[in-house]
């Protein structure tokens, strides 16, 4: 069982990222949002922690170390998207283009600010879970306090 995880887990990250990208890109059109995308990526990462141990998992992916900053950035991006409206006299959480205005499409990706919001959400959720997993893994696997 654990050997299966050991083999599969490190290889899950790629597909998970692609899945997440798909979920965000198709945006409003179908099931799933930034949150689910984030959790999917985070779960894949969590499996790496389980299989490799926290130290190895982090050494193999140094970018993880940036998780707290990414989380903060994600939150601030989402918040900025939400409160951009009041800057130009619109209510908070006004998304642009506004209701009824036409939208530029790039494939299925619609260029609307809601997507930016979703992206911030995704970044935050992924990173926040990573931080949480990092700490729990250290604790469970006896990392230095």
């Amino acid at each position: 069982m654990s050997s299966i995880i050991g083999v599969v887990a490190p290889r899950l990250l790629g597909p998970a990222l692609i899945l997440a990208a798909a979920i965000i890109v198709k945006g409003y059109a179908d099931v799933g949002d930034g949150f689910s995308a984030g959790v999917i990526v985070a779960t894949a990462l969590a499996l790496r922690y389980v299989s490799l141990g926290w130290e190895l998992a982090e050494r193999s992916l140094p970018v993880l170390r940036r998780a707290p900053q990414v989380a903060t950035a994600g939150l601030l991006i989402a918040l900025a998207t939400g409160f951009a409206g009041p800057l130009v006299g619109d209510p908070p959480f006004t998304h642009y283009p506004r209701a009824g205005e036409s939208v530029i499409h790039i494939g299925t990706l619609e260029l609307i600010t809601a997507v930016v919001f979703d992206l911030g959400l995704f970044l935050f959720v992924t990173a926040a879970f990573v931080v949480l997993i990092h700490h729990l893994a250290r604790l469970a696997q006896g990392g230095p306090r």
């Binding site: 930034g34 969590a46 939150l75 998304h95 609307i112 931080v131 469970a140």
Partner: protein, 744 residues
């Protein structure tokens, strides 16, 4: 050592200025201040320097000048004796001044709320003054008692004031007097105010704080407990007397309480050995006179009451100061050890003799007239009150005679040391004033008349004078002196009786009840607290069970259409039913299984079953997230629980079983409560179409197709933003718990 401090002089100067200002105001016919204070409630800061205000303000400031001067000399010695620094008087003079100011405002207040504020301010100031020797346990206790009794009863005054203002739409006293008519609310309200006033004036049965308050330094007693604090009570009665008079029963009540106070105060005064205690009980008794007079009602009594307050204030503060001087000079507080001081301290003896004579109502003192007016008012009511009045006057003569004679007559008890002149001069001034009032009574009578006119609500005229005839007042005075002299002389018979009364009072008296009440409260508090700490603090059930009970009550007690629906269960619902059953079953195993891993797995069965339910309910978004979240839960719990050892304690004890049963019961109650609430809500359909339809309709305008996603990111994006902030806080909290806030 005995030089007054600059602060003391400053206080004296301020008092003198205040007295001068009051005198000017009184002579110029008064003045008024009327500014909006709490307009939303129609409360105005309304002060008027009318007759009543003039009298009490002059007393408060005038006696204040004398007492402050005395205190300027007294306090340095007092502090020196207690080995305290001289500048500790900064804890004294500000409070004295605040007290005086509050007293003047109280005298002038024309609004019940303002009256209450000033009334309470005097109580707060008195707390600090009585507890001035705060290193002494008894002084602190006495201060606390005075505060508790007077402030607690003052709450009644506030209640009364509010009741009156709600009933009549105003709290302005003159307006109230105009509009109020007899009625249950008015009676109750005035009664409450009267109780507060009586407690402040140390009337039976709430008198017990006053003798204890003698722990205060003497200037405090001389000021607060003769002319200021205790006078505040009768001042209030005098102020709202027309309202009290609406209901004759209230006046009769005053009469009874006043008589009780006279008798009990008088008898107990005779029983005391400590100088200041004699005077304290005498104050109880003396204010009983005033209360009796207010209880009698009518113009004569109103005049007499006002005059009585003046005469008593002058005499009593002089006597208190005498006691203080004697105590400082001899370091002795007991009458039985003292005596014969007339030779070493002739001036003091003379001055206090004058004051004592005034209090005892002997001719050629202002006191004579107070009793003359008192007798006149009493006989007006009937023979019974007349007899009581004579007995009261006799008692006064007896105890004050005992006090003075024991101090100054007879063989020398203790040789006094020399005292600064400041400790004698103020007494002398007041003694002279007492005699002067006995010769030229006019100014005092006018003052009293003006005050009484306010109390009575119509002009009052009093004519105190010496009449060498056999009018009832004179005969009564003679009788009083005679009886008083007999009581004074018959010490061997008198003393056992009054001692027994005192012992009985100590055993059954209100102070005992008061103490028992406090102790009982304290014990009750400790008992409940112990219970709470032992059993309830950690118990979550303590929240769930009351909730369940409330829901039960709500369920049973509400009028209802009893519209609980079972709902249709079609064939297509079967998967949902099965899945829900599976989930609940899995959850149930969690409760039974003592292990670690299996409960976690059972939990994930529950989670995935519910996710499947959501999928069947056509909620793909929820199902997706539920699956993901469930995966996270399972992962985390497995990882974390695996490294934790099982609880070591064996789980077989009887207490454990009982506990388990209790938890089970609480869980069942919580479950049933939740079930009823949810069922009740789900059984009702909304009265209007839901906003959801509008959300669905507008989704294309938000450039989307999945309504749920659009809601999360657009319509209700704010919710989502808060939600992820919640997650952020949770993560931050976790890092702060695990790594002291280090984020990585």
């Amino acid at each position: 050592m005995s030089h007054p401090t600059p602060l003391a002089w400053l206080a004296v100067v301020i008092a003198a200025l205040a007295f001068g200002a009051c005198l000017l105001l009184a002579m110029s016919g008064g003045g008024r201040v009327d500014i909006p204070w709490i307009p939303s409630l129609g409360i105005r800061f309304e002060l008027e320097f009318d007759g009543l205000a003039a009298m009490y303000a002059l007393l408060a400031t005038g006696i204040g000048v004398a007492v402050f001067t005395y205190g300027a000399g007294y306090l340095p010695i007092h502090l020196h004796h207690a080995h305290r620094p001289r500048d500790d008087d900064r804890r004294f003079w500000p409070w004295m001044l605040l007290f005086m100011a509050a007293m003047v405002v109280l005298a002038c207040a024309q609004d019940l709320i303002v009256l209450f504020v000033a009334f309470d301010l005097t109580a707060v100031a008195s707390y600090f003054l009585i507890g001035f020797d705060r290193e002494r346990r008894d002084a602190r206790g006495a201060a606390m008692m005075a505060l508790l009794v007077t402030v607690t009863t003052a709450v009644l005054m506030l209640i009364g004031a509010v009741l009156l203002s709600v009933e009549h739409g105003t709290s302005s006293i003159p307006t109230l007097i105009d509009v109020a008519e007899a009625g249950p609310v008015t009676t109750l309200a005035t009664l409450l105010i009267a109780v507060a006033a009586l407690a402040k004036s140390a009337q039976v049965p709430l008198h017990f704080w006053l003798p204890r308050a003698m722990e205060a330094p003497t200037p405090v007693s001389a000021y607060l407990h003769s002319a200021a604090m205790v006078a505040a009570g009768v001042l209030v009665i005098g102020r709202i007397h027309p309202l009290l008079a609406l209901e004759p029963m209230v006046l009769d009540g005053l009469l009874v309480i006043g008589v009780c106070s006279i008798v009990i105060g008088g008898l107990l005064s005779l029983a005391q050995d400590e100088l200041k205690q004699v005077l304290a009980y005498s104050t109880v008794s003396q204010y009983g006179y005033v209360v009796v007079l207010y209880g009698l009602g009518g113009p004569v009594a109103a005049g007499a009451a006002a005059f009585y307050v003046i005469a008593h204030a002058i005499a009593k503060s002089a006597l208190f100061m005498t006691a203080g001087t004697v105590i400082l000079a001899t370091d002795e507080t007991r009458l039985s050890r003292l005596g014969g001081l007339v030779r070493p301290m002739p001036l003091l003896a003379a001055a206090s003799g004058a004051a004592a004579m005034a209090l005892a109502a002997l001719p050629l003192t202002i006191g004579f007239f107070k009793d003359e007016l008192f007798f006149a008012a009493a006989t007006e009511r009937g023979p019974l009150t007349g007899i009581v009045a004579v007995l009261a006057a006799a008692l006064t003569l007896a105890y004050i005679g005992r006090f003075w004679l024991r101090l100054f007559a007879g063989p020398l008890g203790i040789e006094p040391h020399a005292v600064p002149r400041l400790l004698v001069v103020p007494i002398l001034v007041l003694g002279v004033l007492g005699i002067a009032g006995g010769i030229v009574v006019e100014p005092f009578a006018r003052l009293a008349e003006a005050a009484a006119s306010v109390t009575y609500g119509a002009p009052v005229a009093i004519h105190p004078a010496y009449h060498l005839d056999t009018r009832p007042e004179n005969l009564m005075a003679l009788a009083a002196w005679l009886v008083g002299a007999i009581i004074l002389v018959a010490a061997p018979i008198r003393q056992p009786i009054v001692t027994r009364v005192a012992v009985l009072g100590g055993r059954l008296g209100p102070r005992r009840w008061y103490g028992a009440l406090l102790q009982g409260l304290s014990r009750l508090s400790d008992a409940i607290h112990g219970e709470e700490v032992r059993d309830l603090r950690r118990s979550v059930a303590a929240v769930l069970v009351p909730t369940g009970v409330l829901i039960g009550i709500g369920f049973l007690a509400t009028p209802s259409a009893w519209d609980y629906r079972i709902g249709d269960i079609g064939r297509e619902d079967l998967p949902v039913v099965v899945l829900l059953g599976l989930g609940v079953g899995a959850a149930l195993t969690v409760t039974r299984d003592p292990g670690r891993l299996r409960p976690v797995l059972a939990l994930s069965v529950l989670g995935f079953a519910l996710a499947a339910v959501y999928a069947v309910m056509a909620a793909p978004d929820v199902a997706l997230v539920a699956v993901l979240v469930e995966a996270v839960y399972t992962l985390v719990f497995v990882a974390v629980f695996a490294v934790l050892p099982l609880s070591q304690r064996a789980a077989a004890s009887a207490a454990h079983t009982a506990r388990r049963r209790r938890d089970l019961a609480a869980g069942v109650i919580a479950g049933i409560g939740a079930f009823i609430t949810i069922w009740a809500a789900l059984s009702r359909e909304p009265s209007q179409r839901g906003d959801a339809l509008e959300l669905i309709r507008l989704t294309p305008q938000a450039h989307g197709s999945d309504v749920v996603t659009v809601i999360l990111a657009d319509f209700r994006g704010l919710d989502t933003m808060v939600e992820i902030t919640v997650l952020a806080v949770a993560v931050v909290g976790a890092t702060s718990l695990l790594r002291r806030g280090r984020s990585w």
